[in-house]
Amino acid sequence: MKSGTRPSLVRRFWPLVALCLVVTAIVALGSLGNDELQVTITEMMIRLVVVVGIYLFIGNSGILSFGHIGFMCIGAYAAAWATVDPTWKQMMLTGLPDFLQNNQYGFLPAVAGGGLLAAFVALLLGSAIMRLSGIAGSIATFAFLAIVQSVYSNWESVTAATSSIIGVPTVVGPWVAWLFAIGALVLAYVFQISRFGLMLRASRDDEVAAKSSAVGIVKVRLIAFVVSAFIVGVAGALYAHFLGILTADTFYLSLTFVTLAMLVVGGVGSLTGAVTGVIVVTVVVEVLRHMEAGVAVGATNLHLPQGSQEIGLGIIMALVMIFRPSGLARGREVPWPFTPAARRAKVPAV
């Protein structure tokens, strides 16, 4: 390719195509397995949506957010309010507005509602905190997570507080989750190569230079924050319709830790990294979980002590940080496979 010519459409979208193929292959193989594997694959796809959503903001803006699981919580509850049986809602969730309390909506409107409510909250919150840079912004997102947690675990008449919302229709299986994973990948990739994505990444590399390049930093950050909250809100709605039961505890520190670990292990600098992290961490956690449960070797049942999952994940993270500080994907996207190897080193990350 001649220097400076704009790459062809196929080539520009190659990383997206490659990632979609990998994700599809995983779901196709998983769908041949037993029920337990199907559950694992479904949960992995939902987490992929979450992590891709978080990546859209953190990866492009360079601002670490601890608050995105709060958007997942908001999306999950909003969707559950829409799809749970009205007789149960009239009994337990007396504080819901009429249109939710007395009606039952379908899965898709519920998912859309979950995403939109999360996006709306992100718009309000982001208008205030997108002006902050560095650690101040990150702490503000953490405070948001704590606020959401506290509200959703105490607002008896709307969230059922510490008792659970039950009877959410469990309609999300591997292929439904896959469909949303593909959607999230497309949205994140299109954003990344869009004008807003480029301007936002400029502000990540050098905030001062971006300002002097006529980039309205607060605006481009806010756009990314809202789109990213929408994706994570949708993931929350999916999760509600996968679990069937909702408690606010689900959406707090441990889920925040796992999803950020996925992003960091894969590499926060690229969509390929986000996907890699989800796959690798899921596999590691599953293997350790099986070993905690015990593996029969001859007559004895060998098993790791409880808590090995968390310790193992911590060790993996430490090793990745030591040997590949920018993550397994090193901030690059899947390279175009038809470039001679000698030139490949020079092809920049998207």
């Binding site: 220097s3 002097s212 006529a214």
Partner: protein
Amino acid sequence: MNDALHDLPPGIAQAQAAELVAESIVVQFQGLMAISDVSLKVERHEIFGLIGPNGAGKTTLVNCLTGFQRPSTGRVLLAGEDTTGWRPDKFRKQGIARTFQAGRLFRDMTVAENVEVTALGLGMSRRAAHEHAMAMLAWVGLADKADAVAGTLPYTDERRVGIARAMVMSPAFVLLDEPAAGMSDAECDDLMHTIVAIPKEFTCGVLLIEHNMGVIMGVCDRIHVLDGGRTIAQGLPAEIRSDANVISAYLGMEG
């Protein structure tokens, strides 16, 4: 005139402001007087030299003229309009561009993308921004490095990318903060040829901060000298060369 540099898409106007004025600027950092009562005026057709020893307040003044530093008192006027309260991106949109001493390229992005960002920020479409960025890179002689990652460029090329980025869509004024610092004489000569062409090529006023007196005397139409945050002289190069204050404060220092 190179037409590719000026072919802007319809609906996107080149900045029109005719003069950039600093009016009695004072900048105080917690009691420390960085700039005291400095006024200057840069016109659209000239190269205006801003010189002075280290710590004289040159960069602080440029920060005031581009929205990065708010003057404690005094105003910056663009074509007579008060710019107080404008953010840096607004300064750029109104036609005041700058470069940085440290280069400040977007290191993880390609050279072409570095230049494209400004075009996007100014409202061009993705495709138009790319074409315009390529024209700008050709102008500074870096078209063949368009696909290189900016962080891998040698120092001299970094400076050129910075200038290409600043000149996107022909600003009315460009403020160059020591663009030749650390360059060899030959590299410096090369760069000055590019800079001297700016007023004619882009109808753009240049404010040039530079340490090398030979360079400043050679390329500037007018010169403003700062020392310790105060104006100690201003005028034509010949006047500055013979000014007693300048000789003792600045030239004397260089031996």
